[in-house]
Structure formats: C-alpha cells, structure tokens
C-alpha cells in the first residue's frame, strides 16, 4: 500500500510542482493519474520510489515512512518507467539492458535470460535482444524501457506515459501484460493522457491540476464530470462524444457509454432490422 500525505514539492524554490497531494493506493489496484501538462503527475510518482523526497508531507510505502528507505530499497517495491526512454537506457543491447536490472536483484544469469526472453515476447519485441536500443525507433525504445522494469515484476509498477508512440496493436499487448501482472497481485499505476487506454483498463482515476488532486474515484465518474474535465484539460473520449450526440437525437441512449461494443449495440438497436 502507498500513502501520500499532503506532499509539497518545488524543484527550484520558485515554481511549486506539488501543492499538497494526498492519496492512498491499495495493493493490487489499477490506477490512472491524469491531468493538465505541468499538473505535477510525474513529480508525484517520482515520490513513490524515492527519486524525489517530499519537502512537506510524507510518503508511506507498505507501512514504512519512505524517508527511512533508500532509493535502492524503494525501487525493489516500486518500479518506475520514465516518460522519456532516453533517460533510462544506457547499455548497447536490449538484452543487456533488461538483464541489468534482473542481475541487480540477484537473478542468476540463466534465470535472467529466461525472464528476458519472456518479457520481450510479451511486449512484441522478439528478435530485438541483440539490437542496440539507440538504433530503435522511438516507440520501440519506449517499449524496451518498459521491458527493463516489467521484467523485474516489482510489487508496484508506476508507468509514466507508457502509450506514447505505441500503435493500436502495441497498446493492446501492453494492456494485456499489465492485466496479467495485476492479476498476479501487482499494483499498476499509470500517468497518461490517453483517455481510451484508461477507460478500457483502469477502474480508478486520479485527476490533477496545478499541483493538486482535484478528483479521485471511479474512472467512469471522474471522466464524465465536466467540471473535472475542464479543470484538468481532459476531453471526453470519442465514443462518449458520440454517445452524447446520440443522446440529443435519441434520449434513450445513455450519455455515459464509452465502449465500442456499447455504441455498436445501441446503434444497432436504433437502426434495428434495417439492411
């Protein structure tokens, strides 16, 4: 469990990135953090693995105040994948990159290799093992950075914008892998602007603006609250826009629909029997 209590943080003493953020994330949850650019989302998750330390307030990880834990200790519990993969990758082959973290955690070379192969497969990166991360495309590099952390299967996974540069197919693979880890008890936290990715995969959403948390609840409730959307620079997903527009024409259509199959069904019903 992660508890963040009234955390404040400023990088330069002038501009305040976090102005009193509080939240609690239980073991095994899937939580999305969304909101305006510069709202403090990345700053918030960097507090969870000790990369940043609160200037005011505290962070408690599994019952222990994080100030008593080193980054090395914290990152065994909380694995963080950075927004920009170039800040994370530094070795000359994908395989070395992935095995580096595993070996640091005490995996034997054989176990590390096995885990590496499995992770590459899960992320659609078969055949990339010997390639240099720096010769890969932006989207591929992003997936390698993800792989380095996913391979270690930390108790809590915190991913900063994992869907950037990913095509529809890759996004599905990523979602499947996160679901699988989650089913095996891992907590999954993502920072993302990808509304559809959140609706499809994350039951809880925390919305932020200007260094504060302005909404925390079920994804459906948070993302259908116009006031929250406005304050957090979010837009409703295309299917919700469609549902709202349909509702104006056909009052029986719920404005809250947000899944493809729901829209398909409701339109089929309206136009039912037509060929």
């Amino acid at each position: 469990m992660i508890i963040v209590e009234d955390v404040h943080y400023s990088y330069d003493g002038i501009y305040t990135a976090l102005r009193g953020a509080s939240l609690q994330i239980e073991k095994g949850e899937r939580v999305a953090i969304m909101g305006t650019n510069g709202a403090g989302k990345t700053t918030l998750i960097k507090h969870m693995n000790g990369l940043l330390r609160p200037q005011v307030g505290r962070v408690i990880v599994d019952g222990v105040d994080a100030k008593f834990l080193s980054i090395a200790e914290l990152s065994r519990t909380v694995g963080l994948v950075w927004q920009n993969p170039d800040h994370q990758l530094f070795l000359d082959s994908v395989k070395k990159e992935i095995e580096f973290g595993l070996k640091n955690l005490g995996f034997t070379p054989e176990a590390a290799e096995e885990q590496c192969v499995k992770t590459l497969q899960n992320l659609g990166l078969e055949g990339f093992a010997e390639r240099s991360p720096f010769a890969l495309s932006g989207g591929e590099r992003k997936r390698v950075a993800l792989a380095t952390v996913l391979a270690t299967e930390p108790q809590v996974l915190a991913l900063d914008e994992p869907t950037i540069g990913q095509d529809a197919h890759q996004k599905e693979l990523l979602a499947r892998m996160l679901m699988d880890l989650n089913e095996r008890g891992r907590t999954v936290i993502v920072v993302t602007h990808d509304v559809e990715f959140v609706i499809e995969n994350f039951p809880r959403t925390i919305a932020m603006a200007e260094g504060r948390i302005v909404a925390d609840g079920s994804t459906a409730a948070v993302l259908s609250n116009d006031d929250v959307l406005e304050r957090c620079s979010l837009t409703p997903p295309q299917l919700t826009v469609a549902a709202r527009a349909l509702h104006r024409l056909f009052p029986q259509v719920s404005e809250r629909l947000s899944l493809l199959s729901e829209l398909e069904d409701v339109v089929s019903e309206i136009l039912g029997g037509m060929t």
Binding site: A39, D86, D167, A168, E196, T235, L239, V241, A245, T275
Partner: protein, 281 residues
C-alpha cells in the same frame, strides 16, 4: 509541381541490417494536410527526417532514389537550406531545445535564418500568444514538463514560418486540451495560410478529420495512400494495427452486420449525425 516528392527512395541506417524505407514513392502538393501513420518502427520518423535532410546528412547510411523538396534534391541541399522551407518538430522535444528560456528558444530559428531582429521579436510575441505560452515565459526549458517542452518545440518551429511543417507525433506528451489546441492551430495554418502539413500520428481520433490524405506505412513501405474516409475503413488499416477513430470502427462493425451508414464517420459527432440521417429514412 509537387512540393515534396519521394522518388523510389530507400534508406538504411549505418550499421542497421534492414531498410528503414523501401522504394518509397509519393508526392505531396502545396497546401495538403497529410497524416502519416503505421505500426511503431515502420519508417515514419525516417520519412520525416528525409524531408528536412537529416537523412542522409546527419543520419548517414545507404541511400537509393531521391527526395525533392520544392524542386531541390535533398542530397544536394544542406540541412540549413532545407530548414528555410521545412520545419521539423521532433518526436522527442528535449532533443531539439537548445536555449535557456522560452523567448530565446523561439527566436533561435528565425535569427539563424537571418530574419530581421524586429520581425523576430514580433514572431516571438505572436507565437507565445498563439500557443498560450505566456505562463511559461520565465521557465527553463529543461525544467518544463514533457508536454510543456513539446509545446515550446512546436512554437520554435512555427516561428520559422515554414512552407512545409513536418511534425513527428507532436502531441504525444500533451494533455488532451493542449493537443486539441495545437492540432487546431496546425489545421488553421493549413487552411488559412496554405501551410503544407505532414504529421505523424497514431491517434487518428485526433487528426483524421483535419487531413486531406492519409499515408499508411508498414515495414518501410507506403501500403495505402488516399483520403482518410477511403483509407481508414479498409481491412488493411485494421490489420496492421493503426489507431482507427472509434467512430470509424463502429461504422465497420455495423457494416459487418449489414447496417450501412452511407458515409464514413471520423468523429463522434459525425457518427451521431449519420445515425440520425439513416434513422429518418
């Protein structure tokens, strides 16, 4: 004459064992808005780099065929010459920010192209206003969030007043409202000023409605090329994993059930309008 023309162009990065682009032929006319899409690693970024000359002048490698920009062969032009026509917004904004504040960053490009100081100052103010950057004026680019950096990179590129804007996933780090703002400005510059746009994007929900044309790429080749309403409902778009607008996906699913909407919707509103029309019939 085409403004950007790829003639049987192939490219392989130095040390790579496969072609990033394979015999690509396509031409883009002045005033077009072309969305380039396709699976990650398919060559979209390489295509962008080939337009402003970073391929082959900065990223070296094997090259065959030619790319012409405004009639000039990019093999013979310098990156500096091409920069006066082509503005490239990189995929990773941090790779293109070079100065210590917003005003200097925006002024940097025009100054280097020899634009008069007074005109540079005007452009800086206009762009800060246009892209809503006032609150970032005093912030150091490397202390900005990913999204803020991306907006600044776009500002610095638009300040060049490029004939062709090439943007590689320019809104990937932006919150949805900021993405809408930036894409709205690009569409406006395309419509009103005739700026030619080539834009790489996975999330076609956001851009298909603005585009006159979609280039679908897969494994270094262009596999489909045409208006979005023709290309996006095609099976191939589904198969290679393009982020087809949800409204278009609903259209496809209904079609499979024998329900015809008549036209292809690209947005949620369009979908609702079409359903309303068909219902009234």
């Amino acid at each position: 004459m085409a403004l950007v023309e790829f003639a049987d162009f192939s490219f392989k990065y130095l040390g790579a064992d496969f072609l990033a682009l394979r015999k690509v032929s396509a031409s883009v006319n002045e005033g077009e808005y072309v969305v380039i899409t396709g699976p990650s690693g398919c060559g979209k970024t390489t295509l962008c780099r080939a337009i402003n000359g970073l391929v082959p002048h900065f990223h070296r490698g094997y090259i065959a065929g030619n790319v012409y920009v405004d009639g000039q062969n990019t093999r013979e032009a310098t990156v500096a010459q091409l920069a006066s026509k082509v503005g490239l917004v990189f995929q990773n904004p941090a790779n293109q920010l070079v100065t210590l504040n917003v005003e200097k960053e925006i002024a940097f490009g025009p100054e280097n192209l020899g634009v008069e100081p007074q005109e540079v100052r005007k452009r800086v103010e206009d762009i800060i206003d246009l892209l809503n950057l006032e609150h970032l004026r005093e912030k150091h680019p490397h202390e900005m969030s990913g999204g803020e950096q991306q907006r600044l990179a776009m500002a610095a590129t638009l300040a060049l007043k490029p004939k062709v804007l090439v943007a590689d996933e320019p809104t990937s780090n932006l919150d949805p409202k900021s993405a809408e703002l930036i894409l709205g400005i690009i569409a406006e510059l395309n419509k009103r000023n005739g700026m030619t746009v080539l834009l790489v994007e996975h999330r076609l929900d956001l851009v298909a409605k603005d585009a006159s044309r979609v280039l679908l790429m897969d494994r270094g080749q262009i596999v489909a090329d045409g208006p979005p309403r023709d290309i996006l409902p095609m099976d191939i778009s589904m198969e290679i994993g393009v982020g087809i607008p949800k409204a278009t996906q609903v259209y496809r699913r209904l079609q499979a059930k024998g329900i015809e909407l008549g036209r292809v919707p690209l947005t949620g509103e369009e979908l609702a309008i079409l359903v309303g029309e068909v219902h009234r019939l």
